[in-house]
């Protein structure tokens, strides 16, 4: 698995948001994408996922261009996004939400995948018949990740998974992400929790105003004076 983004430009109508993004994610890596509110992180994810079509540039997955492919094709190839705000199906049960995770991919192994996910998130199985809209924020986040895992991702994109979670849960969430990665999953982690993300990531990109401002290995970036000043106020 490799994902390469080359000179990606994206816009909403006339409003340009991304001005030539270059980045790369290799097999087995956790790559963090950091940046302040409105920097264009979710825009990048949604252009990769085929929710929006890039204005120009290229997105290459395993050597094949996926630029402008519709979202169902991107999912079929194994790029699965767990979006910001979870976007679970509120009117459906937890079990139905998980089931739909395997709508396009992993359809024939739904039962095995479900078993595996339940062992990762035992709390979900206690709430199989509860409507997803009535879950707590943390439970919804687990459900959203569980739903993503049902599609047997080759690359999992997590858009601010720690958003709205209590500090204790945030800690758990980062441990879980590191654990999923240890099991071999490649992860693109979009976050505002700079320190915790850099602790588990291999490499990171920082975007500002739609361009990559900084990039490098997570260890280097943790000590980067510019990053520490801008994002940690140190």
């Amino acid at each position: 698995m490799t994902l390469q983004v080359r000179q990606l430009h994206a816009a909403y109508g006339a409003m340009k948001v991304l001005h030539g993004i270059d980045l790369e994610i290799s097999e087995g890596e956790i790559v963090a994408l950091l940046g302040s509110n409105g920097a264009g992180k979710s825009t990048l994810n949604n252009n990769i996922s085929g929710i929006y079509t890039p204005k120009s540039g290229d997105i290459i997955f395993d050597g094949q261009s996926i630029t402008g492919l519709p979202s169902e094709k991107v999912v079929e190839l194994g790029i699965i996004q767990v979006p910001e705000g979870r976007r679970v199906f509120p009117n459906m049960s937890v079990l139905e939400n998980l089931h739909l995770g395997g709508y396009r991919r992993g359809r024939n192994r739904r039962d095995q995948n479900l078993e595996r996910i339940v062992s990762v998130f035992p709390r979900l199985s206690e709430r199989f018949n509860q409507l997803a809209g009535t879950l707590s924020g943390g439970e919804q986040q687990m459900l959203a990740i569980g739903r993503g895992l049902m599609a047997e991702p080759k690359l999992l994109i997590l858009d601010e998974p720690s958003l709205g979670l209590s500090p204790l849960l945030v800690e758990e969430m980062f441990e879980l992400i590191a654990e999923l990665n240890k099991q071999g999953l490649s992860i693109f982690l979009v976050e505002q929790n700079v320190m915790q993300s850099l602790e588990i990531a291999d490499r990171a990109y920082v975007i500002e105003n739609g361009t990559v401002a900084l990039s490098g290995s997570a260890d280097e970036l943790i000590d980067d004076p510019e990053l520490r000043k801008t994002y940690l106020g140190l």
Partner: protein, 300 residues
């Protein structure tokens, strides 16, 4: 002469009950027409103004299948229901979806345009003449004591209930049904699990038209077909949808029955022409006191 000096006729309970029962039969067809409308509204978030015109078109299809090939209107369901599905699917995927670029206000105008085209084409090709199918059993039936039930009425009730039940099963048991429910409430989430939203929209439109086609088969043995017939039913179906709650299946069913019963009781007490105003009256009452309908969720 005192304008207000008139009395409602007084009837025995058996006459009233008989009227209410015939209202149930009529209401089951309203429910079926409303079901398609409410499904399209619930998922695409648009009101399909072409619904009535499509009902009329389906009724002509049933009529011509009978006239040209002698196919029984009920048997014709096996042709017009799948045909309606395909027609609806292609109409949404090929015309409405393409023309509207995902903007709801344009979709509305496009469906309005389609209804005008279908109605005028029907006037041109089929003329305004009323046409009716004569089935040998249209007056057969059995006596309930309070009223005489003809088989076409029974078929309407049985057919509508069966179709509603099958559709409900489809929505909760199948992957496509679940995808429809997912798209209804969370389009972006649906896209991210790989649901093709355009396909699901078209499937919903197809199911809506298939419901209308089934209603057409159930109607033709008792109703004459003419280019304006769609209006009658679809205006009532709108009322049913608003009464039951926009997007609610149960609402469409219960609303259909209630409207059918009110209409028949209105006819009994106020006469053939004035009786129909009970429907408008209910419509206004619902909008005043419970705008989200009986089974709809209040907005906000």
């Amino acid at each position: 002469m005192d304008f207000f000096d008139f009395n409602l006729p007084s009837y025995g309970w058996s006459t009233v009950l008989g009227s209410a029962i015939s209202g149930v039969f009529l209401g089951s067809i309203y429910a079926l027409v409303a079901l398609g409308l409410t499904l399209i509204y619930g998922v695409l978030h648009i009101i399909n103004f072409a619904h009535g015109a499509l009902l009329m078109l389906a009724m002509y299809a049933v009529y011509f299948l009978w006239q040209a090939f002698g196919i029984d209107p009920y048997l014709a369901m096996l042709i017009v229901v799948p045909g309606g599905f395909v027609f609806g699917y292609l109409l949404q995927r090929g015309v409405i979806g393409k023309a509207s670029h995902g903007r709801d206000e344009i979709i509305l105008l496009v469906t309005l345009g389609i209804s005008i085209i279908i109605e005028n084409a029907a006037l041109f090709f089929f003329s305004a003449t009323e046409r009716s199918v004569r089935v040998p059993y249209d007056l057969d039936g059995f006596d309930l004591g309070v009223t005489f039930v003809v088989y076409p009425e029974l078929a309407a009730l049985g057919g509508s209930l069966l179709i509603t039940f099958l559709l409900w099963l489809f929505m909760i048991k199948t992957d496509t049904g679940k995808a429809i429910r997912a798209v209804a409430k969370e389009r972006q989430g649906a896209r991210l699990v790989g649901i093709n939203v355009d396909h699901i929209f078209a499937v919903c439109f197809g199911i809506g038209v298939a419901c209308v086609a089934a209603a057409a088969s159930l109607l033709v043995p008792t109703y004459a077909v003419h280019p304006q017939i769609g209006y009658l039913f679809v205006l009532i179906a709108f009322t049913v949808v608003v009464l039951g709650g926009m997007g609610s299946f149960v609402g469409a069913l219960v609303g259909g029955f209630l409207i059918g019963i009110f209409e028949q009781l209105g006819r009994l007490y106020l006469g053939e022409s004035l009786g129909v105003i009970t429907i408008s009256f209910i419509f206004i009452l619902v909008l005043l006191f419970r705008p989200s309908g009986l089974f709809g969720k209040p907005a906000g």
